[in-house]
Symmetry: C2
Subunit: 326 residues, 2 copies
């Protein structure tokens, strides 16, 4: 094992992805666990510890041997103290929890915590589809719709809450969003909102294969794979809800592009990665009627690092954090 | 006259504002002329020459004595060559015109050309309501709705077309915008769009004082002053169209804030300046339901430099351009 190995953890609403990387960013070991749906922050931290130890086992090392571990987390992250608050997609995590210190104690190495979307955007910028550019917008289409911004080779975080492309308004007086507001992009395109809408229409008697596919796969939720399978089966409701999501993504992403005029848009996230290249093209087409600088639209690419981008971005954060301290 | 005097020109769709400033940014002389509605770019350039010479006369100098002249222009500006193209609000100015060289020849000093909204934002950032902040969004509410962005103390222009907040989509499948797209903020809030809508509803027989006030004032268009007077007179149609504009501004500005998380929003432009502080508060209220980081909304301020902000920003550009060359 390289002496410079680090681990990265992508803490998501449905799964925890941990991976150990050598200094060439190659995967030495990885593990994936479902995110606990019960309990609270300490239970989530315990599940992260298990996932990291498992990835270390595959890499042939102990967590304490790692140069550092990075965690990409939803919610509001205080990177100085390693605390995370308001992580609405995680169980009972409205308040503040000192995730960094807790993991440092249990795993015996330095922990760096960053925002999940920000680290995933950083990974695409440094090592993935964003490499050729100086300014990108990362769009992570999954349970919610997250955004990451790199301008002039530097990430832009605002006062810590930038990138909320999912809560840009695409329809005044529009649909209720799970955040409580109205007309947000996420209310049309978030997998959570799409599932809520599918359940409602199914309960009202509308035919769909979505829930049969879900049950057949033994899933409690409409995962990205379930949506993909339903589209393949030409399920009418699934197709309609995806059409609506793509139309909203086109308007929302184009709005962001009209404001920022970035060189490229990188589409990632669970749904983005699952649907792949043809969907990236559909999103690009949906953006076109709204892009103001139509002579110079941005390039639109699929995220190149796939499912592992979040963990890789977290590992990059760990490396940078260790370098800054030494 | 100070040896470091510069002039700034704010080239707008309705008026040309020229002013001579000393090195403390104090006005030594100014002039305002209507923008020619007929002819083409050379006629506009000739009107700029007249306005600058008049401002110089008041300042007691010749244009050739000035250290430099800055021009804030609509359209796509190539600051290197001083050319302006696609200035849709100016007469017959779809193509490219070498405004900088033309003015340099006629006025006998160095000319720097920049985007009108960018220079006005810069003026507010350096000398106006944006002074206390490191990141601001300038929103210029006039014939159209323009946006200027300063992040981490630096203007962000993207690839030259950033800041098009007026063409962020606030309503998918919404109203036709004068740019040809649908659902843009400007289709609801631009003074041009508001006038088109008022004319249509007036022609359909709806009562309004708007056009009576316009005629009484001898104006060919619904100027900001006409709208302000109609609101004062509690004109129902005017109030309704302004309500709609404020609602769209609230959604659009909040969307931009959710993406960028800037410290402050500065409201300027013809309508913004005319309606003043109470309208800035109304816009802030209209933003509130859409701001995602509701615990830390941005400060919302009225532009502090008023009508002269554009000319002052252009003068700052001239100063910076001269400093860079010497």
């Amino acid at each position: 094992m390289s002496s410079a190995a680090v681990a990265g953890v992508d803490l998501g609403g449905t799964k925890i992805e941990a991976a150990v990387f050598d200094d060439d960013h190659q995967v030495l070991g990885s593990a994936r666990h479902p995110t606990p749906v019960m309990g609270g922050p300490p239970d989530v931290a315990a599940a992260i510890v298990i996932a990291v130890n498992e990835a270390c086992g595959e890499a042939g090392c102990e967590s304490g041997d790692l140069t550092g571990i990075g965690v990409g987390s939803p919610g509001v992250v205080d990177s100085g103290s390693g605390t995370v608050s308001g992580a609405r997609n995680l169980p009972d995590w409205e308040g503040e929890f000192a995730l960094g210190p807790e993991l440092a104690e249990k795993l015996g190495t330095q922990i760096a915590v960053g925002n999940d979307v920000a680290v995933a955007t950083d990974a695409e910028f440094e090592l993935g589809a964003g490499k050729p550019y100086h300014s990108i917008l990362g769009v992570f289409w999954g349970t919610g719709v997250g955004g990451g911004i790199v301008l002039d080779d530097h990430p832009w975080h605002g006062r810590g809450a930038a990138g909320e492309i999912g809560h840009m308004v695409v329809k005044i007086d529009g649909r209720q969003c799970q955040c409580g507001r109205r007309g947000c992009l996420e209310a049309y395109a978030g997998r959570g909102a799409m599932e809520a809408r599918a359940r409602k229409r199914h309960a009202e008697g509308e035919h769909t294969e979505l829930f049969k596919i879900m049950e057949k796969r033994g899933r409690p939720r409409l995962t990205s794979a379930v949506w993909a399978k339903a589209l393949e089966a030409q399920d009418k409701l699934a197709a309609e809800l995806i059409d609506e999501a793509v139309s909203a993504l086109g308007a929302g992403i184009a709005s962001a592009v009209n404001l920022l005029d970035v060189e490229a848009v990188i589409i990632g996230g669970g749904l983005g990665v699952r649907f792949g290249e043809p969907m990236a093209r559909r999103i690009e087409e949906a953006m076109a009627p709204h892009v103001f600088n139509s002579a110079h639209p941005p390039e639109v690419h699929l995220a190149a690092l796939g499912d592992l981008g979040g963990a890789l971005g977290a590992a990059l954060l760990a490396r940078r954090s260790v370098a800054a301290r030494t």
